[in-house]
Structure formats: C-alpha cells, structure tokens
C-alpha cells in the first residue's frame, strides 16, 4: 500500500492506452475473420457457376456468376429431406427424454436423503468423463440383439444414455437451490411427491436450457453412431448423408459446396437466432 496514487483508480489514459485499445480490437477482428472466412467462402461459392468458383473464388455471387446447379444435383442425388427429418426426430426426442429422465433422477438425488444417495450420484457421474464410444462394440451387439440397429430408436437410446450423466449432475445442483419452504408448503397442502416435482421443474428452466444446449449440438453433429448403427437410407442422419454424398460427388464442386451449405445453414440460422441464450447457457454451465 505504499505506492498508492491518491484517489486515482486507474492509471491515466495516455497514448499507450489508445494503442492498447486499437491493438486489442485488431487481434479480435483478425481472429474473427479467420474463424468466419472458410465458412463464408463455402456458402458464397455454392451459389456460383463452376467457372466462377475456380476463376474468382473471392467474388460475391452476382447476376453474371449465379448458378444453382449444385443444389439441383444434391436434390436429385441424395435424400436430404429424409435425412433432415431423421436428424430432427433423433435430436428432439433424445433431448426431451434426456431432460425428462435426468430431471426426475436429479429431483430424487437433491430432495430425498435415502441410503446410497451419494453412491448413486457418483455412479451416474462416472459417465461424464468416459466417452460412450469406447463401448461401441457392445452397443452394436446389444442393438442387433434387440433388433434396434438401423432404427432412429436405437440412435435415440444411445444419445439418451450418454446425455444422462452430465444432465443429472447439472440439474441436481440446481434442484438443490430451490427453497425448501416452497416444497414443504405444497406438502402441507397435500400435494403428492410427483406434484412437487412438477412444481419444481419450471423453477429450474435456465438449467434445463443449459442441459439442452450441451446435448443438442453434439447429437445433431455426431457422425460416429449413425456411421456404425445405421446401414440403409431409412435411419441416416444429415451428417452421415452429407458424408456419403460428399465422398461420392467429391469431384463435382458445385454439388459439394451446395451440400455443405445445405447441411450448415439450418445450424447457422438457429445459432444466429439463439446465440445469446446458447452462449449464456454454455458459460453458466461452465461455472458450475
């Protein structure tokens, strides 16, 4: 406390300060360009003719180079609408089930003091750090055994199981913050334990959002399980469909760029709409 500057909270703002401000913005702008450039390059070129893609890759699409031949090839060559439907069903159903069963388990762990409570919490938490992929050989055998291989249900069950550990962990912490008086008041009014669970659920909506965000992107983007667990068209997801299509059409640049764009755009649009909630969810989950 010897070198205290009387009353001055911050060092005086001189030339050095403005240098710092400019340099900091320059770093961020540069990195933002690096992060977005490849994505924009693919999206913009997908709307151009083959000649324009190679001649002037950095040019924006305009009336002289506009061409949607790539999109026509994609819609003729692949069942993208079916893949989209499959991906949507798998992601939404898996997410809803993760939220339902995890919040129920989290409620039990946070609310009741039963023997083995801590052990059960630990058992469910072990799966946070161990990737489910390591059990793939047995998962395939299991699903073949119960005839769920090559079905959307098989994928949903696998994503559901792998989503439970982190979801229970996060939700238990939030459940514990719900005031006890509230639940006791409901009990005195004669509410059943199930009713109290239904009462608590809306109170931890932000936590449910966080859990949904944590699971949504990895499930939608997963390649591994669709690759191994689905064989025919009927259960292919967008990402697997794109992977196969891209492999087959690799020399048709219009089709490749168009299919990349088609697979990217829905996620990018959703991200633009929900980015605020998504990032807040990720950071609040991270603090926990």
């Amino acid at each position: 406390m010897t070198s205290r500057r009387g009353g001055n909270k911050r060092p005086p703002r001189g030339f050095g300060h403005w240098g710092q401000v400019v340099a900091a913005h320059a770093v961020l702008i540069t990195y933002t360009v690096i992060a977005l450039f490849p994505v924009l390059l693919v999206i913009l070129n997908s709307f151009k003719s083959r000649r324009a893609i190679f001649r002037n890759p950095f040019e924006l699409p305009n009336s002289s180079n506009f061409d949607t031949v790539g999109y026509q090839t994609v819609f003729e060559g692949a069942n993208f609408l079916l893949y989209f439907r499959n991906s949507l069903i798998v992601t939404i159903v898996a997410l809803l089930l993760i939220l339902l069963v995890s919040s129920m388990a989290a409620f039990a762990l946070a609310e009741y003091d039963f023997p083995g409570n801590a052990l059960m919490g630990l058992y469910l938490a072990v799966g946070i750090m161990i990737p489910i992929r390591l059990g793939t050989v047995s998962i395939l055998r299991l699903l073949v055994g119960i005839e769920l291989v090559d079905t959307l249900m098989g994928l949903i069950l696998v994503y559901l199981a792998s989503g439970i550990p982190l979801a229970v962990f996060i939700l238990t912490q939030f459940m514990a913050t719900v005031p006890q008086a509230l639940k006791d008041a409901a009990r005195i009014d004669g509410a059943s334990e199930y009713r109290i669970y239904a009462l608590v659920l809306p109170l931890i909506r932000p936590a449910l959002g966080t859990v949904a965000v944590f699971n949504m992107i990895p499930i939608w983007n997963d390649l591994w399980f669709p690759l191994i667990l689905t064989g025919t068209e009927r259960a292919k997801t967008v990402i697997l469909g794109a992977q196969i299509f891209l492999g087959q059409y690799i020399s048709d640049w219009n089709a490749v760029l168009a299919s990349l764009t088609l697979a990217m755009l829905p996620v990018v649009i959703l991200y633009i709409v929900f980015s605020r909630q998504l990032i807040r969810g990720l950071t609040s989950g991270a603090v926990k």
Binding site: S3, R4, K9, R10, P11, Q20, A24, H25, L28, Y31, T32, A35, L36, P38, V39, P57, V101, M104, A105, A108, Y123, L124, G127, M129, I130, I132, R133, L134, G135, T136, V137, S138, I139, L142, L157, V158, L160, A161, I164, E193, I217, W220, N221, L223, W224, I228, A242, Q243, L246, W253, L257, A263, M264, V267, V268, Y271, S275, I279, T283, A286
Partner: protein
Amino acid sequence: MPPRRRKPFPFHILVFLTPAVLIYTIFMVYPLIDSLRLGLFSLNDTGREVFVGLDNYRTLLTSDLWAPRLWNAIRNNFVLFAIHMSVQNPIGLLLAALLSSQIIRGRALFRTLIFTPTILSVVLIGFSWRLILSPLWGIAKDILGIFGLESLYRPWLGLESSALVAISLISVWQYVGVPMLLFLAALLGIPDELIEAARIDGATGWGVFWRIKFPLILPTVGIVATLTFVGNFNAFDLIYTTQGALAGPNFSTDILGTFFFRTFFGIQLQLGNPTMGATIAGVMFLIILAGVLLYLFGWQRRLQRIEL
C-alpha cells in the same frame, strides 16, 4: 409401548430414479464393461468366444502386425494433444482475456462470431478445409500470395510430413471457442474488488493478469486440459472425413479412434474383428482414465491444498 409407526416404503424415489438409472446402465455402463470383458476374449474358428486373458493386449502391444500401428496411433494422438495444448488453449485464453476487458466494444458480437465454427459438424468443417487447402481450388495459395509467400504453399493434407499438423490446426481452429468460453466465464467470475485493489497497488494490466487473474482461474485451466485430453483421445470424425478410414498418407494421421474403427468395423477387404476392436477400446479407456485421474488427484488436490 405402542408399535413404532413404520414409514411407507418410498416408492416415489424408485419411480424418479429408475428410468435414468436403467437406461444409463443398459446403454452406457453395460456396454463399457462388456466391451472391456470382450477385450479378454477371442473368436475361434467356429465363431465362438474363448477366454484368452491378456493375450489380445500382448498381441496388440508386441506383435509385428499390430504393435507398430498401435504405437503410431498413440504417438499421433499425443502430437494432436500437444498441438491443442500449445496452440488452441493459449489462443483461447488470449481471446478470453481480451473479451473480458472493459476496453473492447462489441464483446458479445465477437464472442458469438468466434464461436461459430464450434457449432458446425466436423464433417462439414473437414470437407470445407479439404477444399480450401486443395491445390485444385488454390485458395490457400492465393491467400499466401497476398503476403508474397506463395512459394510456401504445399498440399499439406497430402504430405506425410505435414498432414497430422494440418489436421491438428484445423481442429484447433474449430474448437478454440470452447476454451475461450470456459476461460471467459472464469475471468468474469473474479470479483472486481480484487482487481481494483491490485490496480491501486500500482499493478499494470499485464501484471494483474498473470499475478492475480491467472492463478484464480487455475481450476479452469485444469478442466480445459482434461477436456482437451479426453476429446483428443476420443477423436475420429475429422480424420475419417478428411483423410479416410486409412488415415493417410501412409497412416501418418492415424489416431486411436481411426485405428479402433478400422479394426472393429473392418475396411475394404479386411473383415472387422470385434474382440481386437474391444481391446483397442480398452487401451483408449485406460489412457483416458489415467488422464482423468491425474487431473482429479494431481491437479485438483494440489489446488485445494494451496487454497487452504
């Protein structure tokens, strides 16, 4: 004495716990354990499983057919991890430090834009970079040309010497948003009074960061390192997408994930070998477990002691 009133058996606890525990046990815990068990078995000529103890592990670690592939994959995995630790996480920390600073305008916008690649599928990212780095399109060459460095261009993904580094950097580019957000959350959680106190004591921005903020976010550093480790030793998609299941050229980008996939699923004319695949998954399990335990007992314990 009246008989003690017994509480009714708490069925509702069972109802709440059963769905999650059952599904988690059947579709995650059981397969993981069964897979470890399968690594101790081998299929004989009639297709029946025979217990062989640690023979599969011995074959994997020592035979001329398997050992070179395994060690190559493990080595490549460590290179991948080293590049993420030395490039991705410092860049993530730098971006987080900038984004947590009051002098930046439009912090939310920068944060959102920089995180964009992270939300996209690895398949799409992999193919996009394959196109950009391709000599056919020439984008990478053109960009180097802007800086007069055209002669430095090589088809990096196609060369044995550079493919793994190129793949690692693509992955760094995609996932830098994750450490950035984790570090940012930790930095924003530091109480302002601490920072103000340090400034009043005459500390500069640089000093405040390394002497006050960085020690306070050490727990996050440990979490980021562990997540990076688990993610890298579990990686597969990017290499499968850009280099194919054979992880070319000449296995130079082969990691445990692709080695596991080829062995268990089979490729081209080679039939899949589930028991040997399970053995490789067993090796991956042990490596990941070692990493996680090192974090829990090495890093966290030490931090707790410092706090006390």
